[in-house]
Each structure stands twice: as C-alpha cells, then as structure tokens.
Subunit: 258 residues, 2 copies
C-alpha cells in the first residue's frame, strides 16, 4: 500500500551481492506490515512475565497462523531455537531493531482540529518508538494553544523543524482540500514519510512514502461485505430502481439475431 516507485531489494538478480546477508535486504512488504503486530504481541507477553513462547502461541496472540509467522520471522534471521521456541525479550529486540524503533522518531502533526487533538493526546505515540516533536496549524487562531503539553506552532516552522530536529515523518490531519498543499510543503521541507488522515489521494515524488488512514473507506469495505451477508439471507435487493441513472448511449444497434 506504500506508494513507492520500486521496491528496494527487488529479486531481479539472484546472483548479485554475494555478501548479501539474510536480514540485509528484501523483506516482503506484507511481512513488514505484520512485524509491528508481532512486536506488540511480544511486548504484551513480556509484560505478563512470559520469557519464552512458541510460534503457535505468538501467532495466536498476533492473529495469524503459525506458518506465516515463522516464514515472516525467517526473513529477519534465525532467532528461534528448534524444539524450544522464541526468547521473548530477544525476539522483541530483534524485531524492534529491524523496524527501527529502538530509539524514538520525531513526528510532526499538521492540522490540529478534532482529529489532530485526539492524535496529540494519544498516549500510544510515545510508548512505541515515536515522539511528537511539534503540532502545526496554518490557522493563526489556533496557534499558541497548548494541546497535550505542546503548543500549536505556525505551519511555517516546518522547515526549521526538519533542519534542526531531524524530523522525517509527518502526519497530515487537515481537511481534505488543504492536504495536497500541506503535503507538497512537507516534501519540499525534507519530510520523506507521510501518514495521511485526510480523505484524499496524495501525489508525491519518488522516494517519499505515503500511508493513508481513511475511516470512510474502511467503513465502505465493511458495508460491502455486510450487504453481501444480508443478501445471502434475505435475497432482497435494496437498490432503488427509481433513482437509477440511465445508461448513456448503449443503443446496442441490435446487430445480432439477424
């Protein structure tokens, strides 16, 4: 789902890089997306004082099957012990290192409306490898207000934050019409990873990653399946034929059956 031009370790050349270590390159995107889930499951196990777990146990905690879990972990290296399982602390560290959350990443949030407030107050940020470096908003009426220990700064400060604090990740929580302009400005300032909450498709240059979180898309996907479930039981087609737009053209010219 990451809008990257090309994968990094594309397996186009099997014979290149004879020194290529297993964990060096080429972790599949689907696996990358699950590593944070495994990490969270390991943290939970660790908090419960569990020192060792099998792939079956960890897979259950993460909501996947054990074969997938083992294959995913095999891309990182051989961190388990056959006949025993995985050491929770050790595996937790290895995954955290692979993801890159052994130290905190500074993050800026742009657009402190309803959602931005909620994000600024979200405690899960700081606990899992991220730190809110600043809250930005273009509206002068909001600037200066303190939200969750941080003041809202002018959006103009973005270049300064990137240059002086090494911020690389930006969160866009603005209304949809402003998102693309904000995105362009973030990219120009040097931001290379963007998490977009605005319901818009963002266009970014090569080398910038965008991930989107979209409430209404998720709901619509659920609605599709829900409709299917209902249709299987009721066999009632809820489509209103009255408001159906007519098919344009399509005169079909009755060419067959001649």
């Amino acid at each position: 789902m990451t809008s990257r031009g090309k994968r990094f370790g594309a397996p186009h050349d099997g014979a290149s890089r004879p020194t290529a270590d297993k964990s060096e390159r080429g972790i599949p995107e689907a696996t990358v997306a699950r590593l944070p889930v495994y990490l969270r499951a390991l943290v939970t196990l660790s908090d419960r004082g569990i020192a060792t777990c099998s792939s079956e146990e960890l897979a259950t905690a993460a909501g996947v099957n054990s074969a997938k879990l083992r294959k995913d972990l095999s891309y990182l290296g051989s961190y388990g012990t056959r006949g025993v399982g995985y050491d929770v602390e050790y595996l937790r560290y290895q995954i955290a290192r692979e993801i890159g959350v052994t130290q905190d990443w500074p993050v800026v949030i742009v657009g402190i409306g309803n959602l931005g407030h909620a994000l600024a107050n979200y405690s899960g940020f700081s606990s899992r490898g991220f730190r809110i470096a600043a809250l930005l908003d273009a509206d002068p009426g909001r600037q200066g207000e303190v939200v969750g220990d941080l003041p809202i700064l002018a959006f103009d400060r973005i270049e300064e934050l990137v240059a002086e604090h090494g911020v690389a990740i930006g969160v866009i929580a603005t209304p949809a019409p402003a998102a693309q302009a904000v995105c362009d400005r973030l990219v120009a300032a040097g931001i290379t990873s963007i998490l977009n909450f605005a319901p818009t498709v963002l266009a970014v240059p090569e080398g910038v990653d965008v991930r989107k979180v979209d409430l209404s898309i998720e709901l619509q996907i659920l609605a599709y399946h829900e409709q299917r479930k209902a249709g299987l039981l009721d066999r009632i087609d809820p489509g209103l034929p009255d408001t159906t737009p007519a098919m344009p053209g399509k005169t079909t010219t009755a060419k067959a059956v001649g």
Copy 2:
C-alpha cells in the same frame, strides 16, 4: 485484511451456478478495497461538473494506473463505452450500489474518549453512506454528555439498538484493555461488522468482519522504510550493541569441524 474465515464466492467450482452473473459474486478483495477510492474520485469529478471521463483520467484521480482501474471496473460489469469513456454519474451510482452505500448504514461508536469525540464530530460520516446511530460508553460519568448532536448512552443499550434500529456496524474506540470484552458484547448483540481503533488483535467468530485502524502500526511501517532510506545514504547502523539482549542458549555444541 478482513478476518473472514472463507471468501464468499471462492472460485473453487467453475461449473456451478450457470446463471452466475458477472457482478453476482467473486469481486477480489483488493478490488473491493479500491472501489471506495474510485467512488470518491467520481464524486469529486461530479462536483466539478464533469460528465464523462476516460479510464486514464479516473485512474489518475484515484492514484492507480489505468489498466488496474479498468480491470477492477470489469468485475462490476461493462459500464463504460469504448471509444468514449465512462459517464460519471452512471458509474458513480453503479459503484455506490455495488458497495452498498446507496442508502445510509447506521453505525454505533463505543468508547467516547479523545478519539471517540473526534469520530463523533467527523463530518465525513454522514456524507458518505453512514449515519451515527448512537454513541455508547461504559463510564457513567460520560453518559448524558452531548457530543456532536448525540447524547452518550450506556453501553447496555447496544442490544436495543441492534434489535430496534438494525445497527450492524460497530466502531470500537475504547482503550486496548477493554476492546475484546466490548467486541464480544457487540457480537453477542448481533453486530456483524466491526471497525477497531484499539491497538489490539480482536478474536471474533466466523461470519464477523473486523477491520483495524492502527496509528502506531502505520507509523512503524513508515519508520522501517525511513530507516532503510537513511541506511542507504549514511551506512550508519543505529543499533546500540550495548543494550542488545544476548541470544539465549545457542551453545552450538561445536559439533562440526571435528
């Protein structure tokens, strides 16, 4: 990503159902996930007064390539005109009907904390085929408070809402420790689709769909790629060897080289 046991229209039997229409069954999950994006792009085009568009134009607006767009739309039927393109209003209605958002779905939100407030005030709900039927919270101190025109009700009211108002979709915005219990109660009450904002893996029975929105997972995926980008330039490994947990066991028993 939907945690459904089995796909509905699994293509296990090509010869069954001779009356199987094209749009009847078997739209790939990846396509379903993109239909809402196409729908939004069409709404935008419609608002601009554009009556017709080519697959290339619509694909650009949706952030995909035209081949993928055409293939996706072909699963729904032949709604375009060769040599011309797609009628915006007509295609918009067809996609909306396929997704099931031609009329509104009632939705309940459980857990009206920071995030729940933001969701309750989110205007994109009502505009795109969904209607907030109720806000629920288990905390009596929050009950009665009015958020975005709706009062917060006791969580106990969930059965009543499902039975009397036909609510089928639930949004979980509670803290993580409460999420599974809330989920179980929703499922028991008859909810069959759940959108989970709590950072936990939810276990649900067959036939219930769960989709999750997880901020910290998205950020960690971005961090992984960000780390890779930095590594390609700097070749600095930021891993601190001091705090590395020791590999347990792995005595290796030096059996080879004998």
